[in-house]
C-alpha cells in the first residue's frame, strides 16, 4: 500500500485538490482509488472527531463513505476498466 496526499475540508470530506482551505493528510487508504471514489469519503485523522446531524460523534482515525458505497464501487470499477483498456492499447493488444 502506498501513502498518498489527500485533502480534507472542515467536514472531513476528502478531496484530491486543495482549494486553499483544506488540510493535507497522508494515508494509504485510497491507494489505487479514483477521484470519484476518494471524494465520496470522509477521513477523520487520529485525535480529531466529527459529529453528524443526528448528534453521533465519530473519532479518528477513521474513514467511511458519505455517498452510497455501491456508487463509489461502480465508479472505481469503471476507472479500473478504463485503466486496463488503456494498458492493452499501449501493449498493442487492441
Amino acid at each position: 500500500m502506498i501513502d498518498m496526499t489527500i485533502y480534507i475540508d472542515s467536514e472531513f470530506k476528502c478531496h484530491i485538490a486543495d482549494d486553499g482551505t483544506m488540510t493535507a493528510v497522508e494515508t494509504d487508504f485510497f491507494d489505487g482509488k479514483c477521484a470519484e471514489f476518494i471524494e465520496g469519503y470522509r477521513f477523520i485523522p487520529s485525535g480529531e472527531s466529527w459529529t453528524d446531524e443526528h448528534g453521533r460523534t465519530f473519532s479518528g482515525e477513521m474513514a467511511f463513505p458519505w455517498k452510497p458505497y455501491s456508487e463509489l464501487d461502480a465508479a472505481q470499477r469503471e476507472y479500473e476498466r478504463q485503466l486496463a483498456q488503456a494498458a492493452m492499447i499501449l501493449l498493442g493488444e487492441v
Binding site: 494515508t27 487508504f29 489505487g32 487520529s46 453521533r56 467511511f64 458505497y69
Partner: protein, 275 residues
Amino acid sequence: MSKYVVDSADLVSVAEAIRTKGKTSEQLVFPSGFVSAVEAITTGGGGLNFTVVGGTTEPTDPAENTVWVDTNTDITGWEFGFDQPDTSTAGFVWIKSSPSSPMQFNAISENAIILKIATAYQLIGGTWELMPTKVYTGGEWLDDYGVIYDGTWRSPYSFAENDLLDNNANPIEWTVSQSSRAVIYNVDFTDFDTLEIDCEFVNNYWTYISVTDNAGWADGAGSNFVYKKLDQGTFARQVYSLPVTDITGGHIIKIHLWGTSTTVKVYRIQLVKNG
C-alpha cells in the same frame, strides 16, 4: 307515545354537531339518519395495550405486548421516542423508536398505533446505559433489533478465524502475541446507520475495526469499506461507533490486531438504526 314539537333550528344544530363529530358533510334525515350517523362515529383508540417491566429475569407467562427491559435498576419512568428524552431522572428508561424494526406491536386495543423498537437505554449515574430489551407479542419474544452480541450471540453470528477466544464467554476476551483477527461473516448492513462495538483494549499496538469483504490478513486500510484505527495504548471500556449508513448488503465485521501482548474484551456488538 308522546309527541313533541321541535324547532327546526334546533334540529339543524344537532345535525351539525353530529356531522362535525362524525366528520361527514352528508344530509341527515331525522330520525333514522341521525341515529345512523351517531352510531357510525368512531371513538379513539381504546386503552393502551402494553406494559413496560424491568427485572433481570425474563417474565414467565407474560401478557401480550410486554416490553421487558433487562435491568436491575428500578424503572422510574419511560418514554418511547426517536430522540433521547430531556430528563435527569435516575432510572428513567428511553425506549428508542425505529422506523424499520421487526420488534413491533400495536400499542392500543382499538384501531392501531404501531410502536417499533430499536432498543432501550436507562439513565444510570448520569449516563444512558444500553439495556437489552425484548417484546412479547403474538405469543413470542422478539429480540433487540440489530444486536449481534451482548453477552450472547444472536443466531447465526459468532466470531470466526480465531482460536484464541471462546465464543461462549461473556465478555469475549483474547490476548494477542503476534497477529490475530476475529471476523463475523454475513452481517447485513442494509437499513442500519451505525456499527457499535463495546470493548476495551489493554496494551494496544495496532488494531483495525472494520467493515470489509476481506476476512484475511490484508494489511492497511484500503481493503475495508469503513475502518476505525485505534491508537497505541490502553483504553478503558467504551463504545466504538462506525458510520455504516452508506453500506448495504452482507459484509464482514473484522477486528484485526497485531501486538506482543494486547488483550481485547468485547462486551457488545450491535447495528443501530437512527430515527
